[in-house]
């Protein structure tokens, strides 16, 4: 558990080295594929976490923004001949703008409404992607999306793709880490913990909420670009409401407002179903239910998730048990108003 800047830097370094060596050590296509999908979902979970974890708004339609990014990037590279890196940036920009446009009307009122409007957005995205044949090619999706690459070099094979995505993901995590540690992040946290107080001390509550939502959507758009170019396919099925709910579960399970938590949540939610897929198919049916039960349990005992901000989990659990035993107040006072 990373407790300080030094520890978190070492943790990040170890994770990067392990991931970078994985395609060399582990033969075959299976593990590099799983790790690549994990990296992509780590970006989605990060986007969700900026909105839900740092700023405290529940969004349930992030797959829609990932879809906007994926389609933008795929169409720009395939039909427009734009180099991947520019398409990637454009994907993020468009998703971010879409997020801001959606958030402005919702956030004028209480942010509860956002959760339902984002569901609506996701459903709407699916309907449009499925039916606007001229642009999106309909339910079959866009096939033959060009691979990722930089300055004329194209990533070929699972190892090179993994390395390129790893570099991108590390940059994004470092960027979000700096953002959330700075004044913007503190404003977001304050809004999450007490909106009224934040407004009273002069924080532009609506502005920062819109900024958080746009940032999270931008990240999901970037992740969507990675997703489409990695699979070389973009289809409406990749960005359904279920995928949004998965992103939400990852962010919460791993840890709200936690960088390593976002990555851990993605790893757990990708890895565990893959490992169960062959042995116990009925568990796959139950997967959302199990995840749901875990969410309820987490909300009651550890509302910040496994690696959420605050004390390390072992200490928190022990501390909670102690406080229970002596009838003291529960941990995480900032989440218990």
């Amino acid at each position: 558990m990373a407790t300080g800047p030094a520890a978190s830097r070492i943790g990040l370094l170890v994770a990067v080295i392990v991931l970078a060596l994985a395609p060399v050590i582990l033969p075959g296509r299976f593990w590099p594929h799983i790790l690549s999908i994990t990296l992509i979902y780590a970006v989605f979970a990060l986007g969700q976490n900026v909105i839900t974890g740092w700023c405290g708004m529940l969004t349930l339609g992030q797959a829609g923004f990932a879809g906007v990014g994926a389609y933008t990037s795929a169409l720009l590279t395939k039909d427009g001949g734009v180099p991947w890196i520019f398409a990637f940036l454009a994907a993020g920009a468009l998703s971010g703008v879409a997020g801001a446009l959606l958030a402005i009307p919702c956030l004028r009122v209480k942010s509860d409404f956002l959760s339902l409007v984002t569901i609506a957005f996701n459903q709407l995205f699916f309907v449009v992607a499925n039916n606007w044949m001229d642009l999106t090619r309909g339910p079959m999706g866009i096939t033959g999306v060009p691979g990722m690459g930089l300055f004329g070099w194209t990533a070929r094979g699972p190892a090179q793709q993994l390395w390129l995505m790893l570099a991108v993901v590390v940059l994004l995590y470092i960027g979000v880490g700096r953002l959330t540690a700075g004044p913007i992040g503190r404003a977001w946290n304050m809004i999450r913990d007490d909106e009224t107080a934040a407004g009273a001390v002069g924080v532009d509550v609506t502005g920062y909420k819109v900024l958080a939502f746009a940032t999270g959507s931008l990240l999901c758009g970037l992740g969507g670009s990675l997703y489409g170019h990695y699979l070389q396919l973009v289809s409406p099925d990749m960005f359904k409401l279920d995928d949004s709910l998965l992103m939400m579960q990852m962010a919460i399970l791993g840890g709200l407002a936690s960088l390593p938590g976002s990555a851990l949540g993605a790893l757990l939610m990708v890895l565990i179903p893959e490992m169960l897929r062959s042995s116990s198919p009925w568990l796959i049916t139950l997967r959302p239910g199990i995840a749901g039960a875990i969410l309820v349990i987490l909300m009651i005992w550890r509302p910040h998730g496994l690696l959420g901000t605050g004390v390390p989990p072992q200490l928190a659990i022990a501390g909670h048990a102690l406080r229970r035993a002596f009838g003291l107040k529960p941990s995480h006072p900032e989440l218990r108003s």
């Binding site: 004028r108 959760s115 709407l124 959302p288 909300m299 108003s337």
Partner: protein, 291 residues
């Protein structure tokens, strides 16, 4: 003209179903400010229970009543397990907990009944009724009558009984209600139970109207309930009723004009439009809290 009136009667029938579903939802929001994501899933499970009872040969009226009671039981259990422990937490926490409870219900239902769409027995015969130049579906008329009857009963219960007065107090100020000796927890449980009962009644009528029961009904019902409740003014009993009726009529109109594919788009459009234009709903019974 006759065609429009026939469509109106269909719209009223489906709208009254939405009203039933929206009432419980809106009540919970008005008391706890909680978006009850599990509500739709409770309704879905209740409709499946009704289906299983009917297939087992239980007399229809009895089967539907039992299904509604199962809705009560599930709603009470969900409240106890997933809501009460987190009631005083940051507002995002109970919402996530509610979603989690919804996932659990949805997975269990899928495990028991499978992911496919099940046809639902037609308990109310669909015969054409001719009134003058109009041809109405008997089913629409009966659904409308049942729904309005239930809404009136619930309205009497909430406005004229001692329990109803207690519920109004809890709604206005939970802590003050507790201080003057109102059993707040019992009232909240009863509100959930009422919501479960009305919701499952609506869910069974919904299943009958569309001749289908399926897992995704859970989230669909939540979306419709939310749209109806917002349209009428979130947290208001009357608002939910009128919002449901208007939503039903709007949907039927959209289906008649653009085709059946756009049915579910209407509720989404309604949510966004209401947020943009009138966050307090058409009847503005209670102010949506501005941030």
């Amino acid at each position: 003209m006759a065609y429009a009136l026939e469509q109106l009667s269909n719209g009223l029938a489906i709208g009254s179903i939405y009203a039933l579903i929206a009432l419980g939802y809106s009540l919970v929001y008005s008391i706890l400010n909680l978006i009850n994501f599990a509500h739709g899933y409770v309704i879905m499970v209740g409709a499946f229970v009704a289906l299983s009872l009917l297939q087992a040969g239980v007399p229809p009226a009895f089967a539907v009543l039992l299904a509604c009671l199962s809705g009560v039981a599930i709603a009470v259990v969900v409240e106890r397990v997933a809501y009460r422990p987190v009631r005083s937490s940051n507002r995002i926490v109970p919402m996530i907990s509610a979603l989690g409870a919804g996932f659990v219900l949805s997975s269990l239902a899928q495990l028991i009944w499978g992911p496919e769409v099940h046809p639902f027995p037609q308990l109310i015969p669909r015969v054409p009724l001719t009134v003058g130049a109009l041809t109405l579906s008997s089913q629409s008329v009966v659904i409308l009558a049942i729904a309005i009857g239930l809404v009136l009963a619930a309205s009497w219960f909430l406005h004229r009984t001692k329990f109803g007065v207690a519920a109004q107090c809890v709604r206005q100020d939970l802590e003050a209600a507790r201080l003057v000796g109102i059993p707040v927890n019992a009232v909240i449980v009863a509100i959930y139970a009422l919501g479960g009962f009305l919701g499952v009644a609506g869910g069974v009528l919904f299943a009958m109207y569309f001749n289908a029961v399926f897992i995704q009904m859970g989230l669909l019902a939540t979306t419709k309930a939310w749209a109806a409740a917002m349209l009428g003014g979130i947290g208001s009993f009357q608002g939910a009723f009128w919002g449901g009726l208007i939503l039903g009529i709007a949907e039927t109109g959209a289906v008649a004009t653009f085709g059946a594919a756009y049915r579910d788009g209407v509720s989404l459009a309604v949510i966004v439009l209401v947020l943009l234009l009138r966050p307090n709903g058409l009847f503005g019974a209670r102010l949506a809290e501005r941030s």
